[in-house]
Amino acid sequence: MPRPIGRELLRVQVNGEERELLVRPYATLLEVLREELRLSGTKHGCELGECGACTVLVDGLPQLSCLLLPAQVEGAAITTIEGLADGAALHAVQRAFVERGGLQCGYCTPGMVLAAKALLDANPTPTRQEIKEALAGNLCRCTGYASILDAVEEAARLLS
């Protein structure tokens, strides 16, 4: 039997809301988001850092929630896919994915959309190559990536 390890306090801001949670120190952010906060929009395809499906923004930067421990995000501001739209109004990146068909099964989409948002925040007019490089860690098995690139380009236009 593994020795019991107590829960510890985690303070984070998730999608703009301050959260104080008691979590297992070895539960990854992915587990905390999906299982403690019931934010199931964050997906998982490997839990080993190999697919990008679990991407969330930590202080604005795309990071893999399946590899992050609670202590690493203490005090950080986290954005998940649920936090992107402004109420019922989709974020420009989301709108562009809808309009350009940047998704099929949609399973890679939350990670893609967030990685794209972080890119556009840092670089509002990326080239196609820059988009590819920024999203390179996010695998998609459905789209062949082309429509995702179109969507990110469209989002850049919508945002400018």
Binding site: P2, T28, E31, L64, L67, L69, A136, G137
Partner: protein, 343 residues
Amino acid sequence: MLRLPPCSYLRPGSVDEAAELLAEHGETAMLVAGGTDLVPKMKRGQMEPELLIGLGHLAELRAVTETEEGGFEIGAGVTLAAVSGSPRLAAAYPAYTRAAALVSSPALRNVGTIGGNLCVDTRCNYYDMSFEWRQACGFCMKKDGDICRVAPASKRCRAIASSDTAPAAIALGASVVLAGPGGRRREVPVDDLYRDDGQYFLAMAADEIVQSLRLPPAGSWGSAYVKVRRRGTIDFPLAGVAVALRRSGLLVEDCRIVLTAVGSRPFDVSPAAGPLLGRELTAEVLAGADDLLAEVANEAAKVAKPLDNADLHYVWRKQMTRRAVEQAIVEAASCLPAPGGPA
């Protein structure tokens, strides 16, 4: 979902405190910086620390400063993204920043640190597998077993050194500052961090921490890193070559060549560059005339003894090592300061 086995996490207040904790807890504890290497390995049961000593929050590990002599000191906790995105560093140490930029994927580089990258575990496709897979295969000497699966006659583990930045750091003549308990500090060349043993690949003491990486002044060195891998991203190196070159006038004065992913440690094979010394790197030479580059590459790749414990055929990996050496020399030459420029 794959999960971590239970373990505790401590956030020491300083590097010194971290070293004290390491000393105190011995084998049951491990350092974790970004966790991008450690977390997947723990999920697969390859490492089973009871205690994680976190470094990520320590501001003292996150500074990049210019040294008095004109080089740079980079804190071990600086992320790969920060290094690869720094124009100052890229101008001075292209091999190093390029290597950092080629590690895994963007989201990982936002978390993975340069210290963690220097200490990244060696790899082997009999070992980087889940507990269940390894159980099915039979455990090996690196974890839970007693023989080597890929080379059963081998007395040591032949897992592959896979850090991208280590060869670049070595080629650039960098050193690391190691912090031990009781405020102990020592500086060692990066090359001395490693042992040619897949299991015990780090030469530092169990209670030491990489505090920073010191890069000497770039001077008139040109450098490059070439990584062989299957895909444009995510993949570990199947071979990696860092080259640093310096000229005197038009003639090559010094050339360092360091290989990664061809054995259990990075190999400094600079003597192989002998035939280049005193020669001019003309366009013809760089295009393969006189077979000069090929001669250097053949000699340099001699240490490479790939085994069937990584992706693709090992003969191909050896061949590609040669080619990557040539390519790295060409690329390093292309970023040399113009002759007569700043020495």
